[in-house]
Symmetry: C2
Subunit: 410 residues, 2 copies
């Protein structure tokens, strides 16, 4: 007998019919003798309906009351799923975040979990109940309702799994697992049976569609085995767990990640002197613009070129800020390029395998793709290229690192 936390998102519980489907799935697990804690989101559309009501009153309503409002969405789902389980002869009990209790700080609309009291849940699990917990919400020390920020139900599930020392935390979603890359770009992309937490985090560009980064970080920190599964299809999904160092079967590269929405800014003719990087990037950071890749070219004539990338949506604002900076530091000009993309190869295996970088560059050279910028981490190598080459690059790398699925024989 094991203890499993199962999380179902808004789409999975979007209609009464789907809630009945989830009840079937949960009842099956429970019937097999497992203890089951279910975490649910609001029925899809409900959170937006509630936010819409609030916005009829005010564009920026009081955060405390926003939490009181939207937290009802998950509460409704917990009641409905508990009813559907009871109908199937399964003892079930709903829990609000406060009833659990999931203690958070008081940062309304973006609260962080501080402590989970597992006593009530554990007593009900021992008594044979399936416990159905409202995701995304908690209470602060004073009993005020808080929410973890949009989509925070994944975090609730992982935190509950950690507190209850669950054997597995299963995240049901609309994909059947984590893939070597986006199957819409590479049709031969494969579902991974396993991936490490670190790899999952580096695959963020695709992972963000599957799992919340914060939930993965949390799961990694508390070593909660996390499994991504499809809500409506059968299948093993992808298990995200700690690295297995002795597993010689682990392929060097887990997958190819990419993002399209990048833009590049180059400040040229920058006087080459200490502190110049801060003078350029300081004002950008102060404007809450996130900087990704940074490259400083070797200078000529005591000047240098300074290049960095930002999210495409921040380009206009970043450019405006830099106009002022250029004048101030006596640089020559600012140029921008919004037609770029980032491609990364990710894998814990590259730590011990030399040559991944050269293999990557050679694969790109073979298809004639010019690399604009390069950045590396311990388990990831990323290159910035022209956006028009993105799909070509992803396919070439997917093949070069042996990730293509073998064609199914007819």
């Amino acid at each position: 007998m094991s203890l499993i936390v199962q999380k179902f998102g808004g789409t999975s519980v979007g209609t009464i019919e789907r809630i009945e489907g989830v009840a079937d799935k949960v009842a099956k697990f429970h019937g097999e003798g497992h203890q089951v804690v279910v975490v649910v989101s609001a029925m899809s559309g409900e959170t937006n309906r509630l936010i819409g009501l609030a916005n009829e009153i005010q564009a920026r309503p009081v955060p405390r009351e926003m939490d009181v409002l939207v937290s009802t969405g998950e509460q409704v789902t917990t009641a409905l799923l508990s009813m559907a389980l009871t109908k199937r002869g399964v003892k079930a009990k709903s829990y609000t975040g406060g009833q659990v209790k999931i203690l958070t700080d008081s940062a309304h609309t973006k609260a962080r979990i501080q402590h989970i009291d597992d006593q009530n849940l554990r007593a009900d699990l021992e008594a044979g109940y399936v416990t159905v917990v409202a995701g995304f919400q908690g209470v602060d020390e004073k009993g005020n309702i808080t929410t973890l920020g949009r989509g925070g139900s994944d975090t609730t599930a992982v935190a509950l799994a950690a507190a209850l020392k669950a054997d597995e935390c299963q995240i049901y979603t609309d994909v059947d697992g984590v893939y070597t890359t986006d199957p819409r770009v590479v049709s031969s992309a494969q579902r991974l049976d396993r991936i490490t937490f670190e790899e999952m985090l580096e695959m963020a560009s695709m992972g963000s569609k599957v799992l919340q980064i914060r939930a993965v970080e949390f799961a990694g920190k508390y070593q909660v085995p996390l499994r991504v599964l499809h809500s409506f299809q059968e299948g093993p999904g992808t298990l995200i767990s700690i690295e297995e160092l002795n597993d010689v079967e682990t392929p060097t590269i887990a997958g190819i990640a990419f993002t399209r929405d990048e833009a590049k800014l180059t400040v040229s003719g920058v006087p080459d002197m200490p502190g110049i990087a801060y003078k350029i990037l300081g004002p950008i950071g102060e404007a809450n613009i996130e900087i990704d890749v940074i490259v400083q070219n070797v200078g000529h004539d005591n000047t240098t070129d300074f290049t960095f990338t930002v999210a495409r949506g921040d380009l206009a604002r970043a450019q405006e800020i830099l106009q002022g900076v250029v004048a101030e530091i006596g640089a020559k000009s600012v140029e921008s390029d919004s037609k770029i993309a980032k491609v990364s190869v990710v894998g814990v295996g590259m730590r011990s395998h030399a040559g991944v970088a050269s293999q990557m560059f050679s694969a790109l050279a073979d298809v004639g793709i010019n690399i604009l910028m390069i950045t590396t981490s311990e388990i990831k190598i990323s290159v910035i290229i022209e956006e028009k080459y993105l799909e070509l690059a992803v396919r070439a790398l997917h093949t070069a690192f042996g990730l293509d699925a073998e064609p199914v024989e007819e």
Copy 2:
């Protein structure tokens, strides 16, 4: 400065526009220096929408989960009204039943309030907050969410007023007060400035449209002055309070109440022996059919006629039960009449004024109405008459007891 509890029902908060209107009203009171506790229902239609979702799963869902589900309706309104108040520069804070906390027994969907903790509310009131409390809900000792049964928000308001020793509990509704009788029947009906709790209870037939009986009982028990007011119109409404014995201005009769949905059953040729009333009424009571007026005629030839009234909806079932009883006790027959109505004159003044009954019977005789049955209580006299005379009877009595409004001079 006084402490006022204001309750707004589902229709009064049925749209964002109306919630903004309620916020205007509350803000005005708060601006005049009063401490205000607002109790709100779910937006009209919301409770039915939630029940509809549950009924898609099951006709009779688990009561505990039903409470978790429908209690979200009021919670949504508290958040929205708090936002609307904050927008007006009024400090406001929402409260669920559990946050107050309103402690109830564990009778889900029909719980009764056991205790109210006034500490949190009082602290916020002292700090200048308008506190907005979800009506209709509480928590039991174990922290399970309970509801007081449909429309229980009036009860919440009165219970809070009692716990906080409020100066007045104002119930905002879709009428501008309690009337001497139904203005749709008697156009000269007058709004009463004051009425006693006892009279209000006896006026139930009309009162039920204005206030919940349970809330009036509660208010009477704890002597909470209760005022019925119109949600969208200005006006003093009707104050329901304890009897003012020294008030010589109090008219003898407060109003004329009536109900249409009555039916009469007569068991004739009943052997006149002890215990016969129980043999007839026992099985009716066991079937949960409420009996109203009962009359046993003087017998002839050792038999008697036994007549009583029930709600018209229960007539068929009562008749069926009586067929069996008739055979068992050797009575002659069962006759029924569903075309009857009940008219009552109500007033605490009749305690000390003799002659109310004769004045009533004479007024009815003057317009040629035959009385079928009579029943009396300390502050009420009711007669059963043919339904077709109902309006005529109400108008005649309204005039006879001097309740008609003086015609407004043009």
